[in-house]
């Protein structure tokens, strides 16, 4: 069961991610990205992070991506135009990415060579209670700092976007 779930959602995630990259229209990319996020949320659930899974959908899919879709609609962004080209990217890009992927996979295998097996329900440390407790005790200061960050981001976004008016 776990294997099936993992494979299904991993494949969905990878396909959607590929779609993000290859689609020429931004809104298609955005919706594919939502697909990635949704399947990642399921994977989080499998890994026992239920609160983060819900937050993933609410924050990422429900708020951040809505912003993206909004901006795309507002600017009426169309298909991509291939105009400029960068010599560096064209020559180095693909080999570097393949090397990166290889290295990442290599490290993943070397770090955990098959030993820890993920069973759904084996780790239940991701409940809202556990996360909340950690957030409000050990990570209280970062948490508060984050709230300040968000406040600043709101102000910044308002100030920047306000120029639209005049």
């Amino acid at each position: 069961m776990d294997v099936i779930l993992f494979l299904v959602f991993a494949i969905i995630a990878v396909l959607c991610a590929i779609n993000v990259v290859v689609q020429t229209h931004p809104i298609a990319s955005a919706l594919s990205l939502i697909g990635v996020m949704g399947s990642l949320a399921v994977l989080y659930l499998l890994l026992g992070a239920e609160f983060i899974a819900a937050a993933q959908v609410i924050v990422y899919a429900g708020a951040v991506m809505v912003l993206f879709v909004f901006v795309i609609m507002l600017l009426n962004a169309g298909e991509e135009v291939h105009r400029g080209r960068s010599f560096v990217v064209q020559v180095l890009g693909a080999p570097l990415l393949i090397a990166l992927l290889g290295l990442l996979v290599y490290f993943a295998q070397r770090l955990f060579p098959g030993a820890p097996m993920v069973r759904f329900g084996a780790f239940r440390g991701g409940t809202a209670v556990a996360v909340g407790r950690a957030l409000f005790t050990q990570y209280l200061l970062p948490f508060e700092v984050t709230s300040v960050l968000i406040l600043i981001a709101i102000l910044g976004a308002i100030v920047l976007a306000r120029k639209e008016l005049d």
Partner: protein
């Protein structure tokens, strides 16, 4: 006991007037300024009542101000009998001068500013007096210096006023430098700055060390109390409004040096060389500035040199071991010198700004209140018994005779000079025929009232307040001398001074000019204040300015620092010129380089086996 309230009232007054005063009415400003000082005075009285006879030192701890390694400085206030005397003088005389200022400053601009500064000064002065350790004292010390600077330059549109303010500030810095060195030494050798802790450990310390500390403290005291060689700022400080001269440059701030020396009496008793130096500098200053005072024509300058001279007297008192006599003189001096300044302020007010005694004369009839009150101050300062100056001056001279008779003689002659120049000023201003053009008018009651109060204190203060007896347990005892001849001699010299002044300026007004003609060399020397300012300018100021210009600016700054900085800039530009080839402006190529970097890092990590 809430000692902190004593300085807190003027501070509140300063904040209120300083922040809101610009729009407030004069009544409001007066109420806040005078009210805060009166409240402070009342709180001093209440504190004294609460402490009974203040037989022991009472300390209040507020908070740990500085905690750094071994250095722990508490923000503490303390009260003992010396503090009580100072508190009463500062708040009492301060309150009278505040009231006087209402009349004197009534027509000046920056009214709220003036009173805000005065209140700030009161705050710092009270902090200075109440301080329980050297650092808090230093805070007050610097604070009063700041206020003095602000108030000397009160008429900041006048170039001479700002120059005088700067001069006072800079000269005081020299003194403060000595003072801070002394504080460092104290901390280094005693491990604390607290008065109690320091003085308890003084016996047993090497005498050289104590002498050094004493001399450095003396440097500080010389700066603040205008002693040779740092007295030059005080006469110029008369550029400030007259109440300021009375409060800061006669009654309170300039006596801070004397207070500090008296406070550190334990150190000086164990440091004979330093104490000797205190006495000598005091004596020299007293005599020297008395001679300058003889020939001044600006009424405020006369009293300024007189102040320097009287401060010298106090130092003599402290130097010969009669600390209580020095403080006694401090108190009486606060009365009669404040009165002299306020009186001269009244005269200047009456003459709409005229300060030159040569253009006064015959004012006794026109402004009788001012005349009579100033006459009280004059007899007090001249040491005529039984007025206040007689008691304190006589006590200092007696103590000096015990130490060394020649000090007594110089002091006595100085007393005669003092009597002469003070009465010279009185005679020139109030007797004879009027030589000016203005129409003199008597000052308003709000100015006369403080004058009257101070006149009473000048006359009766000597036997009303027996300061030495009050302080007797605090200082080493003075060997009492009951040699009536000494007293008689000094009084006689003083009376002779008055008589001479009467002869010169009332009976035979032509005599001074003929004397000046026959002793023209000495006359010129004294008239130009021994050319001290010019000597300082040539010896100190010019070399510093020229050295800065040629060596530091042209040499070090342009040649060394600028060259180095510019060289860095040029090399950065050169390297940047090469590196800018990487900057294609395309984010995607940058990102490629980032990926490249991370791949390299990961390869390195894999080869080094960095992860497990």
């Amino acid at each position: 006991m809430q000692l902190w309230l004593i300085p807190a009232f003027p501070l509140a007054g300063f904040l209120i007037n300083g922040l809101l005063g610009r729009r407030a009415s004069k009544g409001f400003i007066n109420a806040v300024a005078i009210g805060s000082v009166l409240l402070s005075f009342a709180w001093v009285l209440k504190t004294i009542m609460g402490l009974g006879d203040v037989s022991s030192r009472y300390v209040e701890h507020y908070f740990t101000w500085i905690q750094s390694g071994a250095l722990q400085v508490n923000f503490d206030f303390a009260v003992d009998r010396l503090t009580v005397v100072m508190l009463l003088v500062v708040t009492g005389v301060g309150a009278l001068i505040h009231i006087y200022s209402v009349g004197y400053m009534g027509h000046e601009g920056g009214y709220y500013r003036f009173f805000a500064y005065l209140n700030l000064f009161m705050f710092f002065m009270l902090t200075l007096v109440l301080a329980a350790n050297y650092l808090v004292l230093f805070v007050g010390w610097e604070g009063v210096g700041l206020c003095s600077y602000l108030l000397i330059g009160f008429y900041f549109l006048r170039q001479s006023a700002t120059n005088a303010g700067n001069k006072a500030f800079i000269v005081n810095r020299i003194g403060d430098f000595g003072f801070s060195l002394a504080i460092f030494l104290v901390f280094l050798n005693f491990g604390t700055l607290d008065f109690g802790g320091v003085f308890a450990n003084v016996p047993g310390k090497p005498e050289t060390l104590l002498n050094t500390i004493g001399l450095l403290l003396l440097v500080g005291a010389c700066g603040k109390s205008a002693q040779i060689p740092l007295y030059v700022w005080l006469p110029d400080a008369m550029e400030g409004p007259t109440p300021v001269s009375a409060l800061i440059h006669a009654a309170t701030m300039v006596t801070a040096g004397v207070y500090m020396v008296a406070r550190s009496n334990v150190i000086y008793i164990h440091a004979p060389v330093a104490q000797e130096a205190v006495a000598l500098i005091g004596l020299a200053t007293a005599f020297f500035s008395a001679t300058i005072g003889l020939l001044q024509n600006d009424i405020k300058k006369i009293f300024a040199y007189s102040t320097v001279s009287q401060l010298g007297y106090m130092f003599v008192g402290a130097g010969v071991g009669a600390f209580s006599a020095g403080i006694y003189h401090l108190v009486t001096h606060a009365f009669f010198k404040a009165l002299l300044f306020l009186g001269s302020g009244s005269v200047i007010h009456a003459l709409s700004g005229e300060q030159d005694v040569r253009r006064m004369g015959g004012l006794a009839k026109k402004i009788p209140w001012t005349f009579w009150t100033m006459l009280c101050a004059a007899v007090a300062i001249a040491g005529v018994p039984p007025f206040s100056g007689f008691y304190s001056k006589d006590m200092i001279l007696a103590a000096a005779y015990q130490r060394a008779p020649w000090i007594y003689w110089v002091g006595a002659i100085t007393a005669g000079l003092t009597a002469f120049y003070v009465f010279r000023a009185i005679f020139l201003a109030f007797f004879g025929a009027y030589r000016g053009h203005e129409h003199p008018h008597e000052s308003p009651p709000v100015m006369i009232l403080p004058l009257a109060a101070l006149a009473f204190l000048s006359l009766a203060g000597g036997f009303l307040f027996d300061v030495p007896q009050f302080l007797e347990r605090l200082f080493p005892p003075i060997e009492e001398s009951h040699d009536v001849t000494l007293v008689a001699v000094s009084v006689a010299i003083g009376l002779a001074g008055i008589g001479l002044a009467a002869l010169f300026y009332v009976v035979k007004p032509s005599l001074p000019d003929s004397l000046a003609a026959s002793f023209s060399g000495v006359y010129k020397l004294i008239y130009n204040k021994y050319f001290v300012d010019e000597i300082y300018d040539a010896a100190v100021v010019k070399p510093v300015v020229n050295g800065s210009r040629s060596l530091l600016w042209k040499g070090v700054d342009v040649g060394l620092i600028d060259a180095g900085v510019n060289g860095l800039g040029w090399s950065a530009r050169g390297i940047g010129g090469i590196l800018r080839l990487l900057q294609s402006g395309s984010i995607r190529s940058y990102a490629t380089w980032v990926v490249f970097g991370s791949v390299v890092l990961m390869v390195a990590m894999a080869m080094a086996g960095g992860v497990r």
